[in-house]
């Protein structure tokens, strides 16, 4: 590849790529995002390569490795173009049939298609309900590009927004366009991106820096990973455009080291962009020069906070500082520094190409564009979903997510990660945007959406988040460090049945102080998971404290497993599954749990056939005395 020295050369380069491609030529795309890799996607890819070679179809069929398509629950995913037939849960054994039927005979293999609620098979990817209700501005391109081939991105019009910015627009015009678009930070707080850029641009001091924050630490969120792994150039293009608007010549991409594939794909992307003259000195022959370095994070949740992240890039411990002066004015090495989330940057090329008005037309009054959510937890279709702002929680969870696993009852959805809160069923019609989630006591955060069903204990959930945060608190300020510690102590007591009257009020008071007095956003939002669960599920806290009862049957210290003698069919399943040998019983004899040996792992509860329902969870009342050993089963079912 040789350097491109003008916008025209980029255009020609793109045309050359396109003219060498036949849009009707079949192309097998195999999703090799981390999710599909975990389910054996690589083997499926290799099987396709081998089978296509075996059948001598190399010249007639293209095969592409892509990043995450989003529907991780049903991986490995294979989409065959041009008809966009989507096959789910493909195994290497299925490959010869897919090649023979779909690629050679152009027919569809029904058994690997999506089956709708009504039992109908859906072949076309876009018709699957999971995808149908989404608007995939950012994620949609993942399946069209091989992240290690810049040509794929350029073929889709990649870097044309950069060319437009450099040669058609002035930096101020680019900035105004982003400002007008109403784009807000996708990392959590939702600060207007254009305003942030402007502050850095106008701040005194040179050089200026731009940073991509890919320290995606929120448990339950992985959209940044999928964008970086699947389409790193979209982030890079956005970053270069931003640097041009701001007047920065050095950028950093801060990626957590837990994402090795993202680092690898980014490294390749940077090299290829440099080779083509899209990065480095005199980009596309213009006067603008820009360089980017990758910085791997070393595993600290708090380092995703902007000032902490910048300290980490400086090679010091990533602890936050007080932001009397914003990092936009005094950040990295005390120079003006603009930091945005991966998703924010990835939105920029589309805004420049299609215009602020187009972007402004999507979303709600205060929140524009789309947002990627990681829809996970107890929902049927888990995966990454990208929806316009303002879609209701119900639409996301039930229309796209397909409802709750096992058709249990929906209890709450946790948004915003450890800084967010739990939203109960009453609020299912809440439109999802920055303002509405804030009002409900939660927040947008980076976009984790963890669905919880009736089997989730809200006190335990609060305890989980507080534990996470107390481990991740850097310890610099007292309210966060000590507040979380005391909070955790109280919550652990409640979960263990040692809760006392007044604990709830004490927790609320602690939460208020932390919100008021902590140094950085980790501390000021740390009480959200707790306060929101107290607000919406106070009765659960009271049950734990007053009745020593866990309504969801989760808190181990408050539950016992018991086999109802009248229901036990002596099938031996529970006895076999018990890891501690606490269940005695034989063929024809009622099984009995030895409470002294029981570790309450719940294995027996899960294996007991639902038509028997003999193993029960008891909470808040004493366990009935065990039946005498050798009691016979009453009437077989």
């Amino acid at each position: 590849m040789s350097k491109l020295n003008s916008a025209a050369e980029l255009k020609k380069f793109r045309q050359d790529i396109l003219s060498g491609r036949d849009p009707d030529k079949p192309c097998v795309t195999v999703c090799l995002g981390t999710g599909c890799l975990a389910c054996g996607g690589e083997k499926v890819y290799q099987a396709f390569v081998a089978e296509i070679r075996k059948q001598g179809l190399e010249a007639k069929v293209d095969i592409r490795r892509t990043g995450c398509h989003g529907f991780c629950e049903r991986g490995p995913l294979v989409v065959i173009f041009p008809r966009e037939i989507c096959y789910l849960k493909v195994t290497p054994a299925d490959v010869p049939e897919l090649v023979a039927r779909t690629l050679v005979e152009n027919k569809i293999v029904d058994r690997l298609l999506y089956t709708g609620e009504d039992g109908k098979k859906i072949a076309h990817e876009g018709d699957i309900p999971f995808y149908k209700h989404q608007s995939r501005i950012i994620l949609g391109t993942n399946r069209l590009v091989d992240p290690t081939r810049i040509e794929d991105y350029i073929a889709l019009g990649g870097y044309s927004a950069l060319a437009k910015s450099l040669f058609v627009m002035t930096p101020v015009e680019v900035l105004d366009e982003v400002k007008k678009s109403g784009l807000r930070g996708r990392g959590g707080a939702g600060f207007p991106t254009g305003t942030k850029w402007e502050t850095t641009r106008n701040a005194p001091g040179e050089p200026k820096y731009v940073i991509v924050n890919a320290d995606e630490g929120d448990p339950g969120a992985y959209m940044n990973r999928s964008v970086l792994e699947g389409n790193p150039h979209s982030v890079l293009e956005g970053l270069i455009i931003g640097a041009y608007a701001i007047g920065a010549h050095q950028g950093f991409i801060y990626v957590r080291q837990e994402y090795p594939l993202a680092v690898a794909n980014l490294t390749v992307a940077l090299e290829q962009a440099r080779e083509l003259g899209l990065l480095g000195d005199h980009i596309l022959g213009s006067e603008f020069s820009f360089e980017v370095a990758i910085h791997r994070g070393a595993g600290a949740f708090v380092s995703g906070e902007s000032s902490a992240l910048m300290t980490a890039i400086e090679g010091r411990v990533g602890e936050p500082r007080l932001k009397y002066i914003r990092t936009a004015v005094s950040g990295l090495w005390e120079k003006p520094t603009n930091l945005n989330n991966v998703e924010t940057w990835a939105n920029v090329p589309a805004i420049i190409n299609k215009g602020a008005a187009w972007f402004n037309g999507i979303g709600t009054k205060g929140s524009k564009g789309t947002k990627i959510f990681s829809l996970v937890g107890k929902v049927k279709n888990t995966g990454l979903v990208e929806v316009p702002m303002g879609m209701t929680l119900k639409q996301v969870i039930f229309d796209i997510g397909g409802g709750i696993t096992g058709d249990k009852k929906f209890k709450a959805v946790q948004t915003g990660g450890p800084s967010g809160g739990c939203i109960p069923a009453e609020y299912l019609d809440l439109p999802v945007d920055f303002e509405e989630l804030d009002k409900a006591g939660s927040m947008m955060g980076s976009g984790g959406m963890i669905v919880m069903d009736e089997d989730t204990c809200m006190v335990d959930t609060a305890r989980y988040f507080v534990k996470f945060l107390s481990e991740e608190s850097c310890g610099k300020c007292v309210p966060c460090r000590e507040g979380l510690k005391q909070m955790l102590l109280l919550l652990e007591n409640i979960c263990a049945g040692r809760g006392r009257e007044g604990d709830i009020e004490l927790l609320e008071e602690l939460g208020e102080v932390m919100t008021e007095a902590s140094l950085c956003a980790l501390g000021t939002t740390a009480a959200n998971p707790l306060l929101s669960t107290i607000k919406y599920f106070r009765n659960e806290y009271e049950a734990h404290i007053r009745e020593k009862r866990c309504p969801a049957g989760v808190c181990k210290d408050l539950i016992h497993y018991y086999i109802a003698p009248d229901k036990c069919q002596a099938c031996l399943l529970c006895a076999k599954s018990c890891p501690t040998g606490a269940i005695s019983g034989d063929k024809g004899l009622v099984h009995v749990i030895d409470q002294a040996k029981c570790t309450k792992c719940g294995a027996c509860f899960e294996v007991c056939p639902s038509r028997f329902g003999a193993v029960t969870r008891i909470s808040g009342r004493p366990v009935p005395a065990p039946v005498a050993a050798g009691t016979k089963v009453q009437g077989r079912k």
Partner: protein, 240 residues
């Protein structure tokens, strides 16, 4: 010295049965841990190393350590032939040098350097940290600040195969606790521990970033979705 059949490996050195016994005796006498005995000896040896190098000589003060280290180094003589130990350490520190050169000796690359050392050795050996401190001109205390702050770093040797069990929210609501219990049962070590043979280390992580597949476990870079107890046993058995 003809290399005896090695019995165990410790801070980068293979120890024979005799050496191991000597080390144990010494450890008992000085009431310090085995690693401290060896590390202090190695620190003393690093002075020898510095003399034979064209890199800026070490100017840090080892004198304070010396009186203690001298008798420990005496013990080290019994533990291992000095020359060989020096050679080993030269090799190790040369590796550290290669890493440092990759970042052109820039101070702000400290975390990146430590990540690379961690990746190479599966932990951060003390001599390596001293060497980094020396070459980058960063106080050792600051390096320890970083090494203890971030979760990616370990100041004790890690097993050859690290089991990461995800306790992120999405995995949590789908039964990550049970998965962890099962892994604990199969490996026989608790989270944060490494087994005696340094084969396995078990850690919990707050999110592996493939939340749709929870509960998830990662071993040697490979992700496993909802592994059952049999699968965990197979994975453990397939590790050498």
């Amino acid at each position: 010295m003809p290399r005896e059949k090695s019995k165990s490996k410790f801070v980068g050195m293979r120890l024979s049965e005799d050496q191991n016994q000597a080390l144990n005796r010494l450890q008992k006498d000085s009431k310090t841990s085995k690693s401290d005995v060896l590390l202090r000896g190695l620190e003393l040896l690093s002075e020898y190393y510095s003399l034979g190098l064209d890199k800026p000589p070490l100017n840090f003060d080892l004198r304070a350590l010396e009186s203690e280290a001298i008798h420990l180094a005496e013990a080290l003589k019994q533990v291992q032939d000095k020359k060989q130990a020096v050679r080993q350490m030269v090799q190790e520190l040369a590796e550290v040098d290669r890493i440092l050169d990759r970042y052109h000796g820039q101070k702000n690359a400290l975390i990146q350097v430590l990540l690379d050392i961690q990746a190479q050795n599966r932990w951060l050996p003390k001599p390596a940290l001293i060497w980094v401190s020396e070459r980058l001109g960063v106080p050792l205390a600051q390096i320890y600040h970083i090494a203890t702050f971030y979760k990616a770093f370990s100041l004790t040797p890690q097993g050859r195969h690290v089991f990461h069990v995800c306790l992120g929210t999405a995995c949590q609501v789908r039964g990550a606790k049970r998965l962890l219990d099962n892994v604990v049962g199969v490996l026989g070590i608790e989270p944060g521990q490494t087994d005696a043979k340094q084969k396995f280390t078990l850690t919990t992580v707050n999110c592996l970033g493939c939340c749709a597949l929870g509960p998830v476990m990662m071993v040697d870079g490979q992700y496993y979705s909802k592994p059952g107890i049999k699968e965990i046993q197979q994975i453990a058995a397939s590790c050498d």
